[in-house]
């Protein structure tokens, strides 16, 4: 007769927890869950500008993603920080190249698009 395998109670409880997670994977998503794809679609055509600021004694790298036709549509995200400005500048340069759609930087922001009214 083959030996019986006894599963420890804690291990069994953990196994059932894993089975319980199938509930969420087997539940159909609602349309709202995938809205981020539609909402972030504009980010495909953005110019990326690196931005280094001194904050709390460090050089913080920010990347600004601005729509090339509507520059008022932009987001700014803090990426990382360095204590050395040269290092921060170099890293920011590579980060920009990595993030930008066109790595040579030909996709530029149309400043006229800002259309500021000075009155």
């Amino acid at each position: 007769m083959p030996a019986k395998i006894q599963l420890d109670d804690n291990a069994y409880a953990a196994m059932l927890d894993c089975i319980n997670t199938f509930y969420s994977t087997n539940t159909p998503a609602i349309n709202l869950d995938t809205d981020f794809i539609k909402d972030d679609y504009w980010l495909q055509n953005t110019a990326v500008i690196e931005n280094i600021e001194r904050r709390k004694g460090c050089w913080q790298i920010f990347l600004v993603f601005a729509h090339h036709l509507q520059p008022l549509k932009f987001i700014k995200r803090g990426i990382t920080n360095f204590s050395c400005l040269k290092k921060a500048t170099l890293t920011a340069h590579y980060m920009r190249r990595l993030a930008a759609k066109d790595q040579r930087g030909t996709l530029s922001v149309n400043a006229a698009g800002i259309n500021i009214i000075f009155n």
Binding site: L7, Y12, A13, D17, I19, N20, Y23, T27
Partner: protein
């Protein structure tokens, strides 16, 4: 067609239920199965071997109920397990009749029974947890409340049939399931009550 071994086990189950494990002799089993004691001894060397064979089959049936976990993604999953457990305890209640004797004389069987019972309890708890995630059952107001709920459910599962029999009352699956759902009902959220009314009420009420 049952082979001799299966026939012996089936006869023994019946005799254990009628007379209790201690009161059944090998001669009686052989007579009831329509075989000689020599033939019985050829298949099982002693009474302990027969008891082990009977309980191996029983515990296998019992543990197979555990396999139905999360086969349906709604409250019917709970309900199906209740049905399976009812069927098991209704058809094999000789085990409970002999529970204390098993504990005294056959500790290995007792340990196995304990292990499966603990797993059923864990399943009940995890089912409750899952239904909290789904928003069907309210999170516990006091720590350990759901643990106690699961224990009460296990108590009902195990001893509802014997207490009905002791009081000379009817043993039906519907009544059994109602007793169990009645324990869960106070914990339902509005969403849970809606799902219960839509899915469970037409089936059992």
């Amino acid at each position: 067609m049952l082979d001799t071994k299966q026939k012996i086990v089936a006869t023994t189950e019946k005799l254990f239920y009628q007379y209790g494990i201690a009161n059944v002799r090998l001669q009686q089993i052989a007579d009831d199965a329509g075989i000689s004691v020599g033939n019985l001894a050829y298949h099982f060397k002693n009474k302990e071997a027969i008891v082990n064979a009977v309980y191996d089959g029983l515990l296998e049936k019992f543990s197979s109920i555990l396999n139905t976990y999360m086969q349906q993604n709604n409250l019917l999953d709970f309900d199906t397990q209740f049905s399976n457990l009812f069927l098991f305890f209704k058809t094999n209640n000789y085990f409970l009749n002999n529970l204390w004797e098993i504990e005294r004389t056959y500790p290995a069987i007792k340990a196995e029974w304990e292990a499966i019972n603990n797993k059923i309890l864990i399943q009940l708890k995890k089912r409750i947890e899952l239904n909290i995630t789904k928003g069907l059952i309210n999170p516990e107001e006091q720590k350990g409340a759901h643990e106690l709920l699961a224990q009460s459910m296990l108590l009902t599962i195990t001893y509802w049939i014997p207490q009905q029999l002791l009081r000379g009352k009817l043993v039906t699956e519907t009544y059994f399931k109602k007793a169990l759902w009645n324990l869960l009902m106070p914990y339902f959220t509005n969403k849970g009550r809606r799902e219960f009314n839509e899915i469970i009420v037409p089936v059992i009420f």
